[in-house]
Amino acid sequence: MKDYDVAVVGGGLLGSSFGYGLSARGARTLVLDEGDNAIRTALGNFGLVWVQGKGLGMPEYAQWSLKASAEWSGFADRLRQETGIDTCFHRPGGFNLCLDDDELATNLELLSSLRREAGDGGYDYEVIDAAELKRLIPIVGDLAGGTYCPHDGHCNPLLLLRALHAGFSANGGEYRPRSHVNQVKSCSDGGFLLLSKNGDALGAAHKVVIAAGHGSPDLGRQVGLDITTHPDQGQVLVTERVQPMLEYPTNYVRQTDDGTFLLGPSTRDVGFDLSTESGTLRDIARRCTRAFPLLKNLRVQRSWAALRIMTPDGFPTYQQSDTHPGAFSFSCHSGVTLAANHALLTPDWILSGSIPREYDVFHPKRFDVQKNAAGH
């Protein structure tokens, strides 16, 4: 008899969503997390709950994101009722702003491809011309136009993490920080033992879920799970607080419930470097002031960098181990959007012992297929 039904390695957005959902179902759950100085991608999110533009080449991912968006409102209500924490979820729909005609053309092509791939299922978006954009968002600059999707929204990702932790704790889950898992061992009598670098036992459970962000590949290897991810650095600027001016989240800029503006996005391949770089910050500032000239006089209060967990094709990888039954791994870079699914649906897969067939598309064996296909 193991101490826990499920041990989750990682207390970020995935790990704490799973932990919250598992504990809500009465499973004895342990979440093992690192300390304050860890990479913690969970603390570096823009906060979008986004559907628009996702899933080219994998319509199931588009559907998965849509499902998450649909669940989010109820999810936010539930978290607020259970923990008293308001995750500030709003879904007025979101805009992909296009600074110039090239951007607009690329965006329209992407969305019409997605609509084609969705087939009878349909794919919701509206093309917004420059004049209409100005009417809907008066503070926007002179842009080529944009696209609007009613399923897009945003939240406070830090309060989301806090609410998940609080809910997990209230459900009787056990959270252990400063417990870096170095080894996952199968036990002869079933289940798994988790060990630190020194060989200290950190916990034992019938099932183990690896949701350790950049730490997942090393752990997955030990239990027959092939996890391939690489870090993609994004930087964000945060301004001082301002009176509410921007109701809609956009791909470049959103205004938070605190009144601050978040400016992004960016992508850099710098390994595991978490330092910001003035050139990137400058480029973000340039693009965002084109989108919203009003931002020019706002003070930048701080910046930060985070390392997205990118799979080879950018889509989630979900899998269970064939060689070590009861071991699961989940990796993705959309932990905010998918939090609703990860908290409300995924725990059932874990407890039942297998991921439903309909989600086979998220299995990383698709990369073997892609690799083989590329070889022809």
Binding site: L43, R162, S275, V300, R302, S303
Partner: protein
């Protein structure tokens, strides 16, 4: 814009460093936020009449400022440094109200000095509560002195010095509430003896201040605890505990002081390693005897490297500058060692006095952390109790705490709350502060606008 060395700060450390480097043939830029040199310790020293008014320690600064003015070193006044990038090609981000720019350089010397240690207690955010150092700046800049019912609270030589300056300027504090002990505890007599042997003058000066205050009729209480400030829109009264009894005094102004700590934000943003100083209860950059940090291309001199006072700042400025001059190939090893030998000797003496002062004037946080109801983060109005709440949820350090409560996310970027938060979490989790860690600081370290950032080349 390029220079061999950028010196951040035109206080005693910065001025000394710049003059040595300029003398060795380096091109030097000095950057300072004030419109004139002197830093905070010699602030407004060129204002007519100041040199004669505010004591001999202050007056000593006129000499170095005069020498500095006499050089042709290029200085950017009223300019902030918002970013530091170390490494093989160091860069400094500068900003004044007009524009922001990046300066390429070969080496950076941070001489950003110190700030007053935060002393949080219930009611400390009320208008009318300000730092003793702040009041001293008002005196030096504009000749202002607080009038009405003024209470001074806290500990440290500056509080005594300022009380005396107030009296000389014609205003008398209601009382001085010293959170420190009355005499020198037996356990410190050995340190005291050593300090007397090296710098008796400094200690007798302090005693003289105490005597002058007594002669002026200023009440001074020691071993004061549990400060609380009351008022609706501004300060109206101060409560404190003395000898087990709670006292209340009506007040218009409460000047607080709990010693000074290094200004570490630029060094933190640059990725320099820091250590927790147990004695001074603050994070201090890790530097070697030459002022070199753990980041290539960045040195720190003066109080910014660890509190030691103005004279030590000048010594460390010169030592760091000689080291950098040698790194840049402007002087050789022998010239370097000769150049700073005298300063090294002076520093050893100053260190002995420091060892006594650090132990005699322990900060309030050494004896305990603030009550739950005390606002720790003034910017985001987060209380000590709210920090303890998220500690209970498993937050092990200030960065997770920041994420869950916004503590440290406001405009001051954790300058006022950083040390306190680390101590609260350490106490809650029964871990050393060194294990808890400090805020991750990112640029901009001083505010710049989105537009200024966009206009960077």
């Amino acid at each position: 814009m390029k220079a061999d060395v950028v010196v951040v700060g035109a206080g005693p450390a910065g001025m000394s460093a710049a003059m040595v480097l300029s003398g060795a043939g380096a091109s030097v830029y000095v950057v300072d936020e004030q419109p004139a040199p002197g830093g905070q310790i010699y602030r407004a020293i060129e204002r007519p009449g100041n040199v004669a008014r505010y004591g001999e320690d202050y007056a000593a600064g006129a000499d170095i400022v005069g020498k500095f003015r006499g050089t042709d070193i290029e200085v950017c006044y009223e300019t902030s440094v918002w970013d530091i990038e170390g490494g093989a090609s160091p860069r400094v981000g500068l900003a004044n109200p007009g524009r922001a720019q990046l300066v390429d350089t070969r080496h950076i010397i941070l001489a950003t000095g110190a700030m007053e240690r935060a002393l949080p207690f219930p009611g400390w955010t009320l208008p009318g509560v300000m730092g003793v150092g702040a009041a001293q700046i008002l005196l030096k800049e504009s000749g202002l002195v607080p009038e009405g019912r003024v209470v001074i609270a806290g500990t440290g030589p500056l509080a005594l010095l300022y009380a005396r300056q107030m009296v000389e300027a014609g205003s008398k504090p209601e009382c001085v509430l010293d959170t420190g002990s009355a005499g020198v505890p037996v356990g410190l007599w050995w340190h005291l003896a050593r300090a007397l042997a090296t710098d008796a003058g400094a200690l007798f000066k302090g005693l003289a201040w105490v005597r002058e205050l007594r002669n002026a009729g200023v009440r001074r209480m020691c071993n004061v605890r549990s400060l609380r400030a009351f008022g609706t829109d501004r300060l109206e009264a101060v409560e404190y505990t003395h000898n087990g009894t709670v006292h209340r005094v009506e007040a218009d102004t409460l000047l607080i002081h709990d010693g000074v700590v290094p200004n570490t934000h630029l060094a933190l943003a640059a990725g320099c390693e820091h250590r927790w100083n147990e004695l001074q209860c603050c994070w201090t950059p890790l530097v070697d005897e030459n002022g070199a940090t753990t980041r290539t291309g960045i040195s720190i001199a003066g109080d910014g490297a660890g509190i030691a006072g103005a004279e030590a700042a000048a010594c460390r400025g010169r030592i760091a500058a000689h080291h950098v001059a040698r790194l840049l190939g402007l002087i050789d090893e022998r010239q370097c060692r000769l150049g700073y030998a005298a300063d090294c000797r002076r520093l050893s003496r100053i260190r002995v006095l420091r060892e006594f002062l650090d132990r005699q004037y322990r900060p309030a946080s050494a004896t305990g952390t603030p009550h739950d109801d005390t606002e720790i983060c003034r910017c985001e109005e987060v209380t000590a109790g709210q920090i303890r709440e998220v500690a209970a949820l498993g937050c092990m350090g200030p960065n997770q705490g920041k994420a869950f409560t916004r503590c440290g996310m406001g405009p001051c970027m954790g300058r006022q709350c950083g040390d306190t938060v680390s101590q609260i979490l350490a106490e809650y989790h029964h871990l050393p502060v060194a294990d808890i860690g400090h805020y991750r600081i990112r640029p901009p370290v001083r505010p710049i606008t989105v537009g200024q950032l966009a206009d960077l080349e």
